[in-house]
């Protein structure tokens, strides 16, 4: 068997030189694109962390803080007051950054339910404090929560879903975006009027009542057959069209339902505790939307 082989030393040397040039060329190509690649990678890992944080948030946090972060039985996070430098972080006098505050709160939770109006104490999530999640998972949740910054800071005073914390020195009417304006002596109308024309918020189109019922999280606590909802935390809404008019003497069904959405603790159905239903629906829905939701709820 003769076999295949290159005999000419000149050819071998030429192959060697060519191979060296190809190697150098490939490495130079990497060198020239390395800057872009590293930037892409850095951005990607931030994005990946937010993705993982979103999954953790959905399982651990969304039930209290809301799928959209605008609060339910827990405080709102996707809020102007929460993200702005002069807001929550200043009022609690935390010395570090908001990111550190969020991380500490998630990892260590709130130590006690004393002096808190919230129905559930913030649990400890970090493994260092006896919770279920490792430090890298806590970081991912923090990345996800902090990713609301952009949308939260774009909120108008009316859209800020912040609900008052009663156990801090700041009075309730000075919390939230509206409260921040009050501190400097402005009403929301004056603030909005002061904004340049291009910064004026455009009212979003009204959402249909069926969608509002799930989007506002009503289905989580109330039962309603036409919306496939079976929540048992709050009163059953199926008999509402029949009973709404008889609940409070002298009050029309529309007025009663409207008042119960905007100011839930005004009238409490017997057997249910007060202070459970969020009180910020007036801020989260437009007047038109609330009216349409009331009509829809009263349709048998």
């Amino acid at each position: 068997m003769q076999g295949i082989y290159i005999k000419s030393p000149i050819l071998k040397i030429l192959i060697g030189i060519l191979a060296t040039l190809i190697t150098i060329g490939a490495i130079l190509l990497v060198a020239f694109t390395e800057e872009i690649r590293m930037e892409e990678q850095a951005a990607s890992w931030e994005g990946r962390s937010i993705e993982n944080g979103a999954a953790l948030y959905a399982t651990a946090c969304a039930s209290c803080h809301g799928v959209d972060g605008k609060g339910a039985s827990g405080p709102a996070l996707n809020s102007y007051y929460f993200f702005t430098d002069t807001g929550r972080i200043q009022d609690v006098e935390f010395p570090g950054s908001l990111r550190q505050y969020v991380k500490l709160t998630i990892a260590a939770g709130r130590p006690s339910k004393q002096q808190s109006q919230w129905p559930v104490r913030m649990p400890t999530w970090g493994a260092d404090y006896g919770g279920p999640y490792r430090d890298d998972q806590i970081e991912e949740i923090v990345d996800y929560v902090m990713n609301w910054r952009e949308s939260a800071l774009a909120q108008t005073p009316y859209e800020d879903p912040w609900r008052c914390f009663e156990d801090v020195p700041t009075p309730c009417d000075e919390q939230g975006f509206v409260g921040l304006l009050k501190r400097v002596g402005l009403t929301p109308e004056e603030y909005l009027a002061g904004l340049p024309a291009e910064a004026q918020p455009t009212p979003p189109p009204a959402r249909p009542a069926e969608l509002l019922f799930t989007e506002m999280g009503c289905n989580g606590c109330h039962a309603l057959t036409k919306a496939n909802a079976a929540g048992a935390v709050g009163p059953d809404l199926d008999p509402l069209p029949q009973v709404a008019g008889e609940r409070i003497p002298g009050m029309s069904p529309e007025e009663y339902v409207y008042e119960s959405i905007v100011n839930p603790d005004a009238y409490i159905v017997e057997g249910f505790p007060p202070g459970v239903m969020p009180t910020n629906y007036a801020q989260r829905m437009s007047e038109e939307e609330i009216r349409s939701l009331v009509d829809w709820l009263l349709q048998p």
Partner: protein, 543 residues
């Protein structure tokens, strides 16, 4: 001779020339410039051969033979597989030491260090990919080296012990590659190594198995101790072992010479020291030129593949609480994974591989056939081919395709948007995923072609599983894409079906995709470069 005397005899210029020649001869370890020139021109050496001097002067050349038999210098005789294995080992050593700079073997840091290496170290990804590719190539080439030696019967006397050390080197290479697997501390690493070490647990009797497992993992489960142990195995113990056996192996190779083709050599003949003068190919310059050009060529191939076609996988961070849907061993252990599906852990994982290994190492001492010619070795060659085929079949059985399948809806979502890696849904990218509710039982105009293809795949997967599984009928898939946060979309996969009795079932799974996210299949130049080529050809077609 004193300086003045030299000056007088040669003149100042002549003296400088003599000095330069002297320096040149020192640098080349004994070859004067004139001889070097003749070497380059391909002229025969003088007598006695002055080109042998470097072999006695320098360490690295003294371990190389001064000449080879002409018949073994042909590329198709050995395919240079032994040399390539050695070369890859040193390549791994260099890239490995560089990678160690940015790596700390603790569960808290290991994965973060991978991220930092990829996003913050120039050439970091290149080094990691090259190290990984080199490791896989090394396993393949060492195995091919063994197959070649077996088929040509080169393990026969006097080279039995060379084969034996070779088998040890193969095992060390496999363990070296496998111990590196755990270091990135991702899901892929963690679960492959968990399964690997659980095999050690199956060593009988129980007390031995448990002890071996405890020694390897450092705790009942893999954690900080296990990672440190695998790290030390990978960077210290196994390389040291490999270097030791490499030198034993190499000494034997030089001592007995590379086996000649069967037609030119009888078994037991000492051919290395009895090469006829007219058949000698001297190391300097012929073999050296050949090896250098071959290795530069191989390096170029390796680098080009690393830069354009290969990316080392990196899955999510190791999570002991979450077993991945399909755990996969590295490809060179597929056969073991296949074997484990047939028999239990003790037999398939320990006893059978153990027997195979002993048999493999003992081949030269069991094979009494005195001939190396193919026609005399029919039994050996046929059994070798049978064993090889068995390995391939077992490997196929070990691949994820042959794996135990999960329920159809789980597999459908896994196919389109897997737990780890990219998958078709992430591949089309954030921008091509339109917000809305998309169903497999509807024919609508999709906003873009990429998404239409994805929905086509969704429909095809749903159809495929309905044909495959009688308990999965009238299945409807629904994909809801919503904007969860700025630059973050949420994908809800929802599948409903009826089983054979007509009872309904449903399955849902949510994933998120960020605009900036890239998954490991999309890393770096390879992805961009291929995209660039695609764009280039598309623009050509349009013209």
């Amino acid at each position: 001779m004193s300086v003045q005397q030299q000056m007088r005899e040669k003149g100042p210029l002549g003296m400088l020339v003599a000095l330069a020649e002297d320096v040149f001869t020192r640098v080349t370890a004994g070859i004067p410039p004139g001889e070097f020139r003749r070497m380059l021109r391909g002229e025969p050496p003088g007598r006695p051969n002055p080109r042998l001097k470097p072999h006695s002067e320098t360490f690295l050349l003294h371990i190389r033979p001064t000449y080879y038999h002409e018949s073994v210098t042909r590329w198709t005789h050995t395919f240079r597989l032994g040399m390539l294995s050695t070369y890859l080992f040193f390549l791994e050593l260099i890239t490995g030491i560089l990678l160690m700079i940015w790596y700390a073997p603790t569960p808290e840091r290991a994965y973060q260090d991978m991220i930092r290496l990829l996003s913050n170290v120039p050439f970091g990804q290149f080094l990691r990919d090259l190290h990984r590719l080199g490791a896989e190539a090394m396993v393949a080439i060492v195995t091919a080296h063994m197959v070649r030696t077996y088929l040509t019967g080169s393990y026969k006397p006097p080279r039995q012990f060379t084969w034996f050390t070779g088998v040890i080197l193969l095992v060390v290479t496999l363990f070296l590659s496998f111990s590196g697997y755990l270091l990135p501390w991702d899901q892929l690493a963690f679960w492959a190594v968990t399964i690997g070490t659980s095999m050690a647990e199956a060593v009988p009797p129980q007390i031995v198995g448990e002890t071996v497992n405890l020694l390897a993992r450092g705790a009942p489960d893999i954690g900080a101790n296990g990672l440190l142990r695998f790290y030390l195995l990978h960077v210290l113990f196994l390389p040291a072992l490999l270097i030791l056996f490499f030198f034993v192996h190499y000494y034997k190779v030089v001592h007995f010479g590379i086996s000649l083709p069967a037609s030119e050599e009888e078994v037991g003949e000492d051919t290395a020291n009895r090469v006829p003068a007219d058949r000698r190919v001297y190391f300097l310059p012929d073999v050296a030129t050949d090896e250098l050009s071959f290795l530069t060529g191989f390096t170029a191939l390796l680098i080009v593949v690393t830069v354009f076609f290969f990316q080392a996988p990196l899955e999510n961070i190791a999570n002991p609480q979450q077993t991945p849907l399909h755990t996969v061993a590295p490809w060179y252990f597929y056969w073991l994974q296949g074997l484990l599906k047939i028999a239990d852990k003790t037999i398939a994982g320990v006893i059978l591989p153990g027997i195979l290994l002993v048999l493999l190492a003992a081949i030269p001492y069991l094979d009494f056939n005195p001939s190396r010619r193919g026609r005399d070795r029919r039994v050996a060659i046929v059994s070798g081919i049978v064993a090889g085929t068995m390995m391939i079949i077992l490997s196929y059985m070990g691949t994820p395709q042959y794996a135990v399948q999960a329920a159809p809806p789980v597999e459908i979502v896994q196919e389109l948007m897997p737990e780890e890696g990219m998958g078709p849904a992430r591949e089309i990218g954030y921008d091509n995923l339109p917000l809305g509710v998309w169903r497999t039982d509807e024919e609508v105009e999709y906003p873009n072609e990429e998404f239409a293809k994805l929905m086509e795949e969704f429909k095809a997967a749903t159809r495929k599983w309905q044909e495959k599984d009688p308990d999965f009928n009238a299945a409807v898939g629904q994909l809801t894409i919503s904007q969860d946060q700025p630059r973050l979309k949420r994908l809800d996969w929802y599948i409903t079906w009826f089983d054979a009795q007509g009872a309904p079932g449903e399955f849902s799974r949510s994933f998120w995709l960020h605009q900036d996210s890239i998954y490991w299949e999309q890393y770096g130049l390879k992805h961009r470069f291929l995209e660039y080529i695609r764009e280039f050809f598309m623009s050509r077609q349009e013209q």
